[in-house]
């Protein structure tokens, strides 16, 4: 228990901040994922074959390739790509992007592929009559999407999005390989310096269990909220 003390003697405060980091990265990543899903879902549902192809390419590649490989691509290729873009604009200095941005971008793109599939499924299961009714009433496309389709879609999407959230949360453990100090990295450091890996990795497992348990409770609340009237 001394190992978990706060302050200089123990690893309590370090692990606490690491847990916060895991939460922050997961939340950032899932929102980046939603952003990608909002771009790629319309592409997948589009009438044009070529746009469909782009959407399908994104979801198939990302869901068929290991997360770790994608993270390595971002970790090793991230600053190179940025420097290449910068060199076009006449900037030739070395640019290093920090682990947080690389990590949350990589996890965000992965979770975006899963979110896209969830959104696509949810939109497709909304009754066609809803779209037609909105059209007949002369509601413009924007209001139709935000006031009619989105609320109905969320109700259907939340159970599956909760899976995506759990996957994203667990995937953040992989960005420890880039050196970002989240739960896994901090446990690795602590295990290395105290020579007590069993204790710290088990504690990390408990922290992850706690996070998944709490998020499950919150998501259940949301589900009840969006199921009003059903």
């Amino acid at each position: 228990m001394e190992l978990l003390a706060f302050g200089k003697t123990g690893w309590g405060d370090e692990l606490f901040y690491a847990t916060l980091m895991t939460i922050v990265v997961s939340v950032t990543a899932i929102f980046i994922g939603f952003f990608f899903a909002l771009i790629f879902t319309p592409l997948k549902l589009s009438k044009f074959k070529s746009l469909n192809l782009i959407g399908n390419f994104y979801t198939t590649v990302i869901r068929g390739v290991p997360e770790l490989l994608v993270i390595y691509l971002f970790f090793f290729g991230g600053s190179g790509a940025i420097m290449y873009v910068a060199s076009i604009f006449g900037y030739f200095e070395y640019i290093e992007i920090n682990a947080f941005i690389t990590g949350s971008m990589a996890i965000g793109i992965i979770s975006g592929a899963y979110s896209t599939e969830v959104f696509r499924g949810a939109i497709q299961s909304i009754d066609k009559g809803q779209f037609e009714a909105a059209k007949v009433l002369g509601i413009n496309k924007f209001t139709q999407f935000y006031k009619i389709i989105l609320p109905q879609m969320l109700r259907l999407a939340i159970p599956n999005l909760s899976n995506v959230w759990q996957i994203t949360l667990k995937d953040t453990s992989l960005i420890s390989v880039t050196g970002l100090v989240e739960i896994m990295r901090q446990s690795y450091i602590a295990a290395g310096s105290t020579r007590d890996p069993l204790f710290f990795y088990c504690f990390a497992a408990i922290l992850y269990l706690m996070l998944t348990y709490i998020s499950m409770k919150i998501i259940n609340r949301l589900e009840i909220k969006y199921n009003r009237g059903y």
Binding site: T60, L68, L73, S176, S187, R195, A205, Y208
Partner: protein, 225 residues
């Protein structure tokens, strides 16, 4: 684009694919046995057995696979007692540690898939068997299990693909699987995109094969023949 690198790294990556496939097949084989065992425990009416099986699947589905591998590879070696027994022969090898972690992980997911398959079997089918005077044991082995396996094929196909992606984590415990070799080539040549295309292509190809194989099985064993 460095096409030369892509050509020279392809055979190396293909060699590493063998390690990935070995890990995958071993963990799927043992995982299916464990999954079936725990699925049967889950539908047991005894509350303690039931809760034990639920606890197992909750524990392994609620934590990242990386933590599980690290606990088994770095953590278990710390227990002095284990080091003196014959188990240590297995546990000191990263290869076996990875297989144990993957097996336990996929076992937890498989048990959930099979459990839901058992629970969706129509009671009428079991009743029909009973009314024909078939003993309970034979109903279970000859009727319930085949139907459950058929029911769970699509979900199990997804699990196989997830597990294939999961084997990439073996590279974190010094195993040179497809991802491990890809990382090694990237960090020595600093050409991430080329290596990613080749290694990702191999992974996608395996996903494609698994996906179609499961589709074929689904068609072969569909009810409406």
């Amino acid at each position: 684009m460095d096409f030369d690198l892509m050509f020279t790294s392809f055979p190396k990556l293909l060699g590493a694919t063998v390690v990935t496939l070995k890990l995958l097949s071993a963990s799927l084989f043992f995982g299916l046995i464990i999954g079936l065992l725990f699925a049967i425990l889950r539908i047991n009416k005894n509350i303690f057995i039931n809760k034990f099986a639920y606890g197992y699947s909750y524990l392994f589905r609620g934590t990242p696979l990386l933590v599980q591998i690290f606990i088994i590879y770095f953590g278990l070696g710390q227990i002095e007692y284990l080091r003196s027994t014959f188990i240590w022969v297995i546990l000191k090898e990263p290869y076996w540690c990875a297989i144990i972690a993957f097996t336990l992980n996929t076992g937890a997911y498989t048990s959930e898939i099979l459990r839901s398959a058992f629970q969706t079997i129509k009671p009428g089918i079991i009743e029909a068997g009973k009314s024909l005077g078939i003993p309970n044991k034979i109903i279970f082995y000859k009727i319930q299990i085949p139907i459950a396996i058929r029911q769970s094929l699509p979900a199990y196909g997804n699990e196989i693909i997830l597990m294939m992606k999961g084997t990439s984590l073996a590279s974190t415990v010094t195993l040179m699987d497809l991802t491990g070799v890809a990382k090694y080539i990237i960090s020595t040549t600093f050409k991430p995109i080329e290596v990613f295309i080749v290694a990702g292509g191999i992974y996608l190809f395996m996903t494609f094969i698994i996906h179609n194989f499961i589709k074929y099985l689904e068609k072969k064993y569909s009810f409406s023949q």
